[in-house]
Amino acid sequence: MTHSSTPIAHKQQAPVHSRAERKARNATLRGRFGLVLYLVLLLLPIYWLVNMSFKTNTEILSGLSFYPADFTLENYAKIFSDSTWYMGYLNSILYVSMNMIISLLVALPAAYAFSRYKFIGDKHMFFWLLSNRMAPPAVFLLPFFQLYSSVGLFDTHIAVALAHCIFTVPLAVWILEGFMSGVPREIDETAYIDGYSFPKFFVRIFIPLIRSGIGVTAFFCFMFSWVELLLARTLTSVEAKPIAAIMTRTVSASGMDWGLLAAAGVLTIIPGMLVIYFVRNHVAKGFALGRV
């Protein structure tokens, strides 16, 4: 690539320019290639699970293949026809939604307070909240069990929702505070001068302004509540048992029911994909917790 420095080159600027362009294009191409490679490796284990969920157990155990030779929906049919299975999904969705609503309701005013006012102990309070996000669920397992049993909430959806608040609420406050700090304070002041009361201002003006922040927060609450199993399993026995705990039933005396396990696993991935599809445009900012 040295010919651009020959005497002909300085008559026209083009070769130098195109060399830089070519270099940039090569870099982008290399980037695309790397990204595709990463995505393939990322999706391979998931594909394997999907692949297995459409196979019969005899086919799974008889050898490896990249696609089901004997395509079957039997595993899914089993899940959708057995109420103990599909109730698990409903239970999970129910407590996750409850948790999302509770977290948002309490976190919104608190995040506003943290982003706008100075008050006694605000910094300590904020760190204390975050410190709950750091508490290993294993630490709280037994006390939670006893606490919720003693107030008669054991094996209810609300118990799991409340228990999950311990890590979703601090996160929600943290993310919302980031988004709210991005809204200029002048808006609040103008609204007060115009005679808005605080609740009216908050609901009519402020919340629409941070809509995307709320969406992202709901997404994060969903994400962390949906994937958690340890607390959800400990606090439930029959009525509110999450799908993730029901999956352990596939181990039976005759060995593992791999196809059924795979099908149940695939079904747990779908709600997450739906949710991320809805917030895809805001999620980039949300992942930095509103703090970029």
Binding site: R32, G34, L35, L39, L42, L44, P45, I46, W48, L49, M52, L61, L64, P109, A110, Y112, A113, Y117, K118, F119, I120, M125, S131, N132, M134, A135, P136, P137, A138, V139, F140, L142, P143, Q146, L147, C165, S181, R185, M223, V227, E228, L229, L230, I243, A244, L261, G265, T268, I269, M273, V275, R280, N281, V283, A284, K285, F287, A288, L289, V292
Partner: protein, 289 residues
């Protein structure tokens, strides 16, 4: 940062959060403290034992091993996930349909329930029915995560990298998106190399999100329970038994409430200490701006 108004009435806005978190955090925490200083035989027979459980926990060699394993694990995955995450973020397209698609695909592992992640790798790593296991034995490696400690360790690390690199990548991606185009134009005029652009423009802008990323990853990897539990059950032997798991074994398995509670507190304090250091760093950096 904007200046804030001094107003103690703001406490009323924080009250709901305080109450709800206090209900699910302070009461259980106090229960743990209560257990940690007592010897409990049954609900009516209990003795105050002071710091005895703490002494016992501090000297327990099984816990020392678990703690060491935990630190090794957390640092290993951080050392892999942070650079890999940055690379992936740099490669992701910035606009168009490709950008949303890449974003959604990269985020998928984050939304899979943790025990399903364990299940996926349990299947994927088996030599008889899993692609990865079959691949490893295909190239002549005697690979079996259920019986060989090294393989088990490798699989657990690989699983975590698969599971959590997307978080670092998405954090960095959002950090990169916040860099104004002008910076790149200036770099182009200066004919800065790709490396120089990364080192002097992108990396400094990434520090903030990277600290959040490292903080989240450290906390979560330090609390990891479900995935290794499903995958290896802590074995073979105790080669993949991390802190949470030995805690659950002690508290639920053997029902040793006192020592388990003391252990919980020590465990919590370690995480708190490390995270406090991170947190103070973030806050100081935001102040400097």
């Amino acid at each position: 940062m904007q200046t804030k108004v001094e107003n103690n009435k703001a406490w009323f806005l924080v009250m709901p959060v305080f109450l709800i978190v206090a209900f699910s955090a302070i009461i259980p925490l106090m229960t743990v403290v209560n257990y940690s200083v007592q010897d409990i035989f049954d609900p009516y027979t209990r003795y105050f034992v002071g710091t005895e459980w703490f002494k016992q926990v501090m000297l327990d060699s099984r816990l020392h091993e678990a703690l060491l394993r935990q630190f090794l694990y957390s640092f290993t995955i951080l050392a892999i996930e942070v650079p890999l995450g940055i690379c992936v973020a740099l490669m992701m397209p910035t606009k168009g349909r490709g950008a949303s698609l890449a974003l959604i695909l990269v985020a998928i592992p984050l939304l899979i329930p943790w025990n399903v992640v364990g299940t996926i790798w349990q299947i994927f790593g088996r030599a008889d029915i899993g692609l990865f296991g079959a691949f490893m034995s295909g190239i002549g490696v005697d690979y079996n995560y259920a019986s060989d400690p090294t393989d088990a360790w490798l699989t657990v690390v690989l699983m975590d990298v698969w599971h959590w690199t997307p978080l670092v990548a998405l954090l960095c991606y959002s950090g990169l998106r916040a860099i104004p185009e002008v910076y790149y134009q200036a770099a182009r005029i200066d004919q800065a190399s790709r490396w120089a652009v990364f080192r002097y423009i992108q990396l400094p802008k990434l520090t903030n999100v990277l600290i959040i990323g490292v903080l989240l990853r450290f906390m979560d990897s330090f609390m990891i329970y479900t995935e290794p539990f499903v995958l290896t059950g802590g074995g073979p032997g105790s080669s993949t038994t991390f802190l949470s798991q030995s805690l659950v074994q002690q508290a639920i398995g053997q029902f040793d409430l006192g020592p388990a509670a003391a252990f919980s507190l020590v465990y919590f304090l370690i995480i708190l200490l490390v995270c406090w250091v991170f947190y103070t760093t973030i806050m100081n950096m935001q102040k400097d701006k």
